[in-house]
Amino acid sequence: MLLTLLAAAGLALLRVRNLFAVVMLAGIYSLLSAGLFTVMDAVDVAFTEAAVGAGISTVLFLGALALCGHQENKPGHTPLLPLFVVLVTGGLLVWGTMDMPGFGDPANPVHHHVADHYIDESYHEIEIPNVVTSVLASYRGYDTMGETTVVFAAAVGVMILLAGRLGRRPRPEGKGDGG
């Protein structure tokens, strides 16, 4: 059911030319994905998807829309070559999945490398009930620190691109009405 709605939202996203509707559909798409993650018991991921995908990025897209207008330009070329490339790439990816073990099979190698240890032992070793948090912040603390640094670096990149007048007062006509 959720997958059907996801597919419908995705197709609608492709068809619609009004960018405002596209942004709203993208938000709906994220919310549906969050629902899907919840169904699959991945509440932490669902939480992030709902907050980032459906929340903040929708607002950022709206901010960008205020800058670039609401109507998408007609494409200036026929979509046949891109379609061909996409079909070939998609075919290769599907072909690649043939070698993968069955989806959701509990005997998959990925479920028996360190996952068993985390699920069985993390409460004794870390003494907090949320395994996701203990993996994220304790077992994989270095990774999370790297991620935090990456987020910071991304912000620095955005600042360099968008804020040419950093540190100075915004010009008087630069009064944003906040979208």
Binding site: V43, D44, A46, F47, T48, A51, V52, G55, I56, V59, L60, G63, A64, A66, L67, C68, G69, H70, E125, I126, E127, I128, P129, N130, V132, T133, S134, L136, A137, S138, G141, Y142, T144, M145, E147, T148, T149, V151, F152, A154, A155, V158, M159, L162, A163, P170, E173, G174, K175, G176, D177, G178, G179
Partner: protein, 140 residues
């Protein structure tokens, strides 16, 4: 949107709850879904909501762009600082057991680094939002 009474009052009523919820998500991350990242995004969303309804300048008077930029860097320092503290206490870098007897240190350590994540994510999200919302568009 600033003229709508319902929107203005609604935003004013909701914002404190959103912020409280964000902090709850952070401090309860050990026991329930969530953590620093989600909490940071939720706090940023509260700021974005207020900015959308009351205008960017009004919000930037309270949460200045300078402050959020500092937050983005401060979070990384908090995270790395927790690691340095555990090293000074004689354990591995980010070895939280150094912070208290037994495994209680894991709680403090995780809360500490998640606080770093929260501060960075909040600072980054609000900075990006300010940058986008503060630019003048061609079509307005």
């Amino acid at each position: 949107m600033r003229g709508e009474v319902v929107v203005r009052v609604g935003a004013k009523v909701l914002a404190p709850f959103i912020i409280t919820f964000g902090l709850c998500v952070h401090f309860h991350g050990d026991y329930s879904p969530g953590g620093g990242f989600q909490a940071g995004v939720i706090l940023a969303a509260a700021i974005a909501l207020l900015a959308l309804v009351y205008g960017l300048e009004a919000v930037q008077k309270v949460v200045t762009p300078r402050f959020v930029r500092a937050c983005a860097a401060l979070g990384v320092i908090i995270f790395a600082g927790v690691g340095v503290v555990t090293m000074v206490l004689g354990h591995n870098y980010l070895g939280y057991d150094a912070l208290a007897e037994g495994h209680a240190g894991q709680h403090y350590g995780i809360l500490g680094v998640e606080l770093g994540v929260l501060v960075t994510v909040f600072g980054v999200m609000v900075t990006v939002f300010y940058l986008f919302a503060g630019r003048r568009g061609r079509t307005q």
